[in-house]
Every structure is written in C-alpha cells, then in structure tokens.
C-alpha cells in the first residue's frame, strides 16, 4: 500500500479495496519500524490518527467523503496543531501545545485527511541540511550518511521512505525544493500569498510560503487543491480563485517555451547534476517544448539580499519568544533582563541566534538603509529579471541545487558554505514566484532535482509540465534501497 500514489489511494479507499484504518495502521507500523533509521518524524499521533481513520471509513461507507477522505499525511512541525505539540524543531517550543489549528491543518481536516504525526525540521526552518534541529538531524533515505536537505528535511525523508504518501512543508529560501531534490521526491512552493500562513510559525514573513511534498506532480496537485485557499486571517493571503490543479495535468506541452538561465549552469554546478538536468530538458524538447536561452543577471545578488532580509524579518518575528507567553523559560531568573537573555540563549540553537544577531545588526540605527533598504532595492532588480524573462518564456528551468546530497558536517564551520546551497532557489522567494522540484536523474546513487519556476499563480502550468515529464520518465518512481 505504501507504494501507491495519493491518487491511487483515493481510488482504493473509494472502491473499498482497503479501509482507512488498514492504511493508517500500515503507515504507523512503517513509521515505528523504519523511522528510527531516519529520524524524520518527531511526534506520532497514533491514537488520533486511528480515530480519524475510523471516522473517515464511516464517511466513505456513507458515500459523502470529501477529496482526501482517509488518506494519511504528515505535517511539518511548523504548522500549529490543536492539542499536539508544535516544536518548530526548537528547544524553545519543545513544550508548546497550540490551542488552535493552522489554516493549512484545518483545510486538510476538512478534506478528511488523517494526520499521522509531525515531521522533523531545521530549527525555526533555518537551515539547508536539517542539522540545526533540536531533535537531531534527519538522515537521507538514499544514503544515511548524507543530509536530507532542509529545512523541510523530515517531510522529504518521510515521503521518500514511504512513511506517508504526502507531507506538508514550507519554503522561505528553498526549504521545500532543496530537500525534495536531495530526497528524490516532488515538492512545490506556491506563489507568495497562495497558501495561508496563519498558524504557520513565522520565520521571514515576506518570503515564507507553505506547499506540498509528495512522490509525483499529480499528488502535489491533489494536495495543493486542498492547501490553497483565501484566508481572512492571513493579511498577506491573496484573494484569487483556486483552480482545479488536477484538471490540466494532461494538457499537451507542445509549443511550451522553457527559459534556460545561463546563470543556473555556471561555475559550482556538479557536472553530473548538469547532465541530468540537460537530459530532462531534452526530454521536454522531444515532447514539443522549445528551449530558450535567457539571462537572470542579478542571480548572484540573491544570496546576499536574502541574508539581509530573512534574518531581519526573523529577528523581529522571533522577538516574541521571551519566556513569558509560551515556550521555554530559563530556571531561576534573577530579574526580567536575565529572564529574557538567558531564556533566548538557552532556548535557541546556534544558527537561530546567529540569524537573530545578523538581523538585529542590519536593522540597527545607522545601518538600516545600507542593508535592509539596499536589499529591498536589489529584490526589485531580481524581480525585474524574472519579469523580463517571462515576456519571452512560459516557465524557467534549471537545477534545484548545485549538487546531490552531501555528508553530515561537510559544510564545515563557515555558515556561508551552507547558505550557497540555496543559490538557485532563493531568487524565487525574493520575487514571490512559485517554484517546484522533481527528480530527474541520479548522481553517485543520489537523486538530482529539476527546478521549474513559474509566473505568478501559474502553479497549474508547472504541475502540468512536471506531470508530462513524469508520464514519460521513471525517476519519480525510484525508491531508496530497502524501501520498496
């Protein structure tokens, strides 16, 4: 059952080939047996899941089942779940049990999905390797001495190891696409404002966006149908109709213009990764798409701009963790100042502290214009690059990240080495554009990700292209050794 896609699971449940309780028990057993090897799941909600599954079976029997009725999924531990600990991968929130559901969680509940538990992640979503989690790193199911990517590494590894057919994730600078690439699965970061951020613990509010992770574009479309919604509670959510993302998957891609940015195939790109991506482009060309050379000249400025904007917004967002309203509090504070400074020093890990300090620096008196103001101007230049490109092409494609999964600890002590992992993904967050990653080959027995960047609210077209590619290829069906 764990090798079936979400689309197949829905058909199986509706035709009573198996029940949701059987399915849920099967995935819970897999998590219990296999997850000790990966550390992808932080919290398992077995009792609640079995109860929800039983209720789903009743609705299925009654014939009034909603779209995802009885389908088990996992939520990234950044989405607040009513009555279930939501840690954001941090000691700061190790004891935090939200009294409400995030809108995304609510949407899946309305759709009848069964939540198996919560997935591991980099602390407060700050990282590209899952090494910053308070709960220890997630291991890549393709090579357990390698990272799964981050920050949604737990969701990606869980889907790759077939611990769940799909999982929610978030992407601030590549946190859906890079782990999807490194774990050989399909993940989509929607347009900024497409998915509600309400109840999704904030990292950098102008960049954060939730999205689906699954094994195929078809499954991501099914999940996005449920995740995307206008939400009054998120003031940055955009009021647009949600199309049926499944309806256009089968459209022909004949005549599709694919922009290939030279900057994404330059120095630092692993030759094996390049070869796999070029082969994928050739496959799409064979299906009738046209490849167009384009330039995104300000790509090199995206990482520096991001490391001003994201830490600046994080330093403001994370000021709410003060040991007073929720979360960790240090022992025996002598006064209020001591309570704040020790709670934050003990509750936050090293990378989170570093980003708060950088953000504080960039926003402090005398530096605001030179850093934050300048970065917001550069952001405009980056957006303009994309706007120019989309006058000539329908989608943009290239590698998701420079190389396949790397070994734990291999990025050393210099934080900048890790930051460059997101060089091809960060620009889309700065511009608010949608992006996705899907598997397109193997290098050294590890998966390679193909990135698709779309124009605003063009998720349906991206999913269509990805689906057409997956109809003609088998990379998305490959499973790590010992998994299938």
């Amino acid at each position: 059952m764990h090798n079936l896609t979400i689309a197949e699971l829905i058909r199986g449940l509706q035709s009573k080939e198996f029940s949701s309780v059987e399915l849920t028990q099967h995935f819970l057993a897999r998590i219990a047996d296999l997850d000790p090897n990966y550390n992808a799941v932080i919290t398992v909600t077995a009792d609640q899941a079995l109860k929800a599954a039983a209720a789903a079976d009743q609705r299925l029997a009654a014939g009034n089942a909603p779209a995802l009725c009885g389908v088990p999924i996992l939520h990234k531990d950044i989405f607040c779940t009513n009555g279930v600990r939501t840690s954001c991968g941090s000691k700061m929130l190790d004891n935090f049990v939200p009294p409400y559901n995030a809108t995304v969680v609510e949407n899946f509940e309305q759709a009848g999905a069964v939540v198996l538990g919560k997935t591991n992640m980099d602390e407060f979503a700050m990282g590209s390797s899952n090494e910053t989690s308070f709960y220890g790193p997630v291991k890549n199911p393709w090579a357990t001495d390698c990272v799964p990517g981050g920050s949604s590494g737990g969701s990606a590894a869980a889907v790759a190891a077939r611990l769940a057919p799909g999982a929610t994730a978030t992407d601030t600078g590549g946190s859906i696409r890079q782990p999807a690439a490194l774990c050989g699965i399909t993940g989509l970061k929607p347009t900024y404002g497409r998915v509600s951020r309400w109840g999704m613990i904030a990292f950098a509010s102008s960049l954060d966006q939730g999205g689906p992770m699954a094994r195929s574009a078809e499954d991501c479309a099914i999940m996005l149908n449920c995740m995307a919604s206008f939400d009054d509670k998120d003031s940055t959510c955009l009021e647009r109709d949600v199309p049926d993302y499944s309806a256009t998957l089968g459209s022909s891609i004949k005549g599709l213009r694919i922009g290939v940015p030279g900057e994404y195939f330059s120095e630092g790109l692993n030759p094996g990764t390049e070869q796999a991506v070029r082969a994928a482009l050739a496959e799409l060309e064979a299906q009738g798409a046209e490849l167009v050379d384009i330039s995104l000249p300000n790509t090199g400025l995206s990482v520096p701009a991001y490391y001003v904007i994201a830490p600046a917004e994080a330093s403001a967002n994370l000021s709410r963790f003060d040991g007073v309203k929720y979360g960790y509090r240090c022992a025996d504070p002598t006064d209020l100042q001591d309570l704040y400074t020790r709670t934050r020093a003990e509750g936050f890990g090293e990378e989170v502290q570093r980003r708060i300090l950088i953000g504080t620096y960039c926003l402090s008196a005398g530096y605001y214009d030179a850093y934050y103001g300048k970065a917001q101007q550069v952001r405009q230049l980056i957006q303009q690059d994309f706007a120019n490109a989309f006058e000539k092409v329908d989608v943009i494609m290239g590698p998701t990240c420079p190389s396949p999964a790397f070994k734990f600890g291999s990025k050393g002590d210099d934080p900048v080495a890790m930051y460059l992992e997101d060089i091809y993904t960060i620009a889309t967050n700065l511009a608010g554009l949608p992006g996705m990653s899907l598997p397109c080959g193997m290098v050294d027995d590890k998966p390679v990700g193909l990135q698709i960047i779309g124009n605003y609210f063009d998720e349906a077209r991206m999913l269509n292209v990805a689906h057409q590619y997956q109809q003609a290829t088998d990379w998305h069906r490959a499973a790590p050794e010992g998994i299938a």
Binding site: P99, Y192, S315, T334, L339, T341, Q380, L381
Partner: protein, 95 residues
C-alpha cells in the same frame, strides 16, 4: 575583522541574547563571514530603484471594526510558563 567584539556585545544586548565569554570570539568570526557575504550588495547599482515591499504590490486589506474573535484567554494561557488570575507572571520589576 569586519565586526568588532564590542559590536557583538551591543547586538547581543539589543537582541536580548546572552552570549557566553567563551564563545564570543567564535560568534564574532562567523558573523563576520556572513557580513562579508551580505556586503556584496554594496556593489549593486540601485540608483533610482524603488525598494520592493510586496511582490504583487498588494496592500493590506481593511475590514469593519467588529468583534470577530471570542475571548480565549484561558485556552491561550495554558501554554504560558507562569500565570496567576489571568496574568502572565515575570520576576519582580519594581521593588
């Protein structure tokens, strides 16, 4: 060194994060490396470019000034480290 130890101490105070004496040199060095990266921005020609505040130029929605939420103080305070009579408790501020 792009940033001095004293500056880090000031930042730590502003950010309300206690930094241990034994790690401050390491923190200074790694922060310096990140600031070197972000300093690449200074080379960009941005004359006449407006800062971007929202990718789709969206503005905040307005709504009627009506009560939309119920009082959930008790539920929301269940997550607090220390409360009494509906108030959050902190160490004594005024002697």
């Amino acid at each position: 060194m792009i940033i001095e130890r004293q500056e880090i101490e000031k930042l730590a105070t502003l950010a309300r994060i206690a930094i241990d004496d034994s790690t401050i040199n390491e923190v200074t060095e790694r922060l310096g490396s990140v600031l070197e990266l972000v300093d690449q921005l200074q080379a960009a020609d941005t004359s006449g470019v407006d800062p971007m505040s929202h990718p789709l130029q969206a503005t905040q929605r307005l709504r009627e000034d009506e009560v939309s939420e119920l009082n959930q103080r008790e539920a929301l305070q269940t997550t607090a480290p220390d409360t009494e009579d509906g108030l959050f408790l902190v160490p004594k501020v005024i002697e």
